[in-house]
């Protein structure tokens, strides 16, 4: 993979459309306007991680795992910095990874009795969903361990 015009323009397309979509999503979820810039920067970060991981490995599971890990770490840190629940940042960042397209093609191939397409798209959907799930879980359990330690030691003091 090289940093040529195609890569940059494609990344820009994903980032901008992803940010517009996430902006719509957070409006639907009635986010506090003060949190919006931070959430949207997180979205761009998540999409960038996803794009480069996909370019390097062309593996759906791995690229979504990396992107979800980056998103969760960003959300957990920002939640602590701004004293906000983590969900406020995590949900907008994960939404752009959700395999809506693959889910649709799985369904469409089911309707068209296309076994091969169903198998392939169904597998991809599962791999992406699993990648996101594992990514979120790894980082958020890590943060919960740190929080528990902190609570324990402040209680001792």
């Amino acid at each position: 993979m090289s940093f040529d015009f195609v890569v940059v323009s494609e990344l820009l397309k994903y980032c901008i459309s992803g940010i517009v979509a996430t902006l719509g999503f957070v409006l639907v979820c009635n986010i506090n306007f003060k949190r919006m810039p931070t959430a949207l920067i997180g979205t761009a970060l998540t999409i960038a991680f996803w794009y480069f991981a996909l370019g390097l490995t062309s593996n759906d599971f791995f690229s979504n795992l990396v992107a979800a890990m980056a998103a969760t770490a960003y959300a957990e840190i920002m939640a602590r910095v701004t004293k906000t629940p983590t969900t406020v940042y995590l949900v907008p960042e994960i939404i752009s990874l959700v395999p809506g397209g693959k889910l649709y093609y799985t369904m469409a191939s089911l309707m068209a009795s296309d076994t091969e397409g169903f198998r392939k798209n169904g597998y991809d959907t599962l791999a992406i969903a699993l990648g996101i799930a594992v990514g979120i879980v790894i980082i958020s359990t890590l943060f919960s361990i740190i929080t528990a330690q902190k609570k324990h030691f402040t209680a001792i003091k």
Binding site: A21, V28, N30, N32, T84, M111, T141
Partner: protein, 264 residues
């Protein structure tokens, strides 16, 4: 029973009631289990409870609070529906911090909770929902490789979802509602392509599917599961999977129609 101790008991009852109202609202707005349990426990402890047992699931909250004089009180709340509202979670979170710091009279606490709910502007919320749906559908259509015309079509078709959501009440069957939403959105996408508005039926449909995907439920269910709230986590996960199935049912009828009209 002396007058004084009955008054203490009364204020403990009011305090627990208000704390549980807050917890129920948190769950309705899509908060995690851990946060909700934590909020109730913190508030009760701040008011001097010596024992707090609180159990939160996605549909029921049970809490028993024990005061130092040996008085115990249990209350429950039933939760019927949830609709993600991130700013309300944040508001309730900061309100609970404020209450734990200042410890106002329980009646005052109840009043503060009621007042903070009143400041929400329902008309603004509906407008935001329309604008949001428009941007979301258009954005994801381009994100999933659709053309500019597809994005426009998805944005217009997507407006049917917030419109249908206006007719979603407390006791509306959520699954039936999702099937109806996805059926209407799918059929409208196919018809839009059939009359020449938009280029690819599949891209337009993907854009509108993203409006219905239970993103908040999926994210929360995983966090709940791995933080030890197995019951609520699996309830949320099953709810998300059922919603996905309902979406599939609605859209597959639209796909059949698309096949008949030769647009897919």
């Amino acid at each position: 029973m002396t007058d004084l101790s009955s008054q203490i008991r009364y204020s403990a009852d009011v305090m627990l009631g208000a704390a549980l109202d807050m917890a129920a609202e948190l769950m309705e707005c899509g908060a995690e289990i851990q946060r909700t349990e934590d909020t109730v426990e913190r508030i009760c402890r701040a008011y001097g409870a010596s024992r707090v047992d609180v159990y939160v699931t996605t549909s029921l909250i049970v809490a028993t609070v024990g005061m130092p004089d040996g008085y115990h009180k249990t209350q429950t709340r039933r939760i019927y529906y949830s609709q993600s509202n991130l700013s309300r979670i944040e508001e309730l979170n900061s309100l609970s911090r404020e209450i734990c710091e200042n410890i106002p009279e329980p009646v005052e606490f109840e009043k503060m909770l009621r007042q903070s709910k009143k400041t929400e502007n329902p008309r603004r919320k509906i407008i935001m929902r329309y604008v949001g749906s428009l941007l979301l559908a258009a954005g994801f259509t381009v994100f999933f490789e659709g053309s500019a015309m597809d994005a426009l079509a998805a944005a217009v078709v997507g407006l049917c979802i917030p419109t249908l959501n206006l007719f979603k009440y407390k006791h509306t069957n959520a699954m039936a509602h999702t099937v109806m939403c996805s059926l209407v959105a799918g059929v409208l996408s196919v018809l839009a392509i059939a009359v020449g508005f938009g280029d690819h039926a599949d891209k337009v449909m993907i854009g509108t599917i993203m409006l219905l995907i239970p993103g908040v439920d999926i994210g929360n269910s995983l966090r709940d599961l791995f933080f030890g709230d197995i019951v609520s986590g699996s309830m949320r996960l099953i709810k998300a999977l059922l919603t996905a199935t309902a979406i599939a049912v609605g859209y597959s009828i639209a796909i059949l129609l698309g096949g008949l009209l030769n647009v897919i």
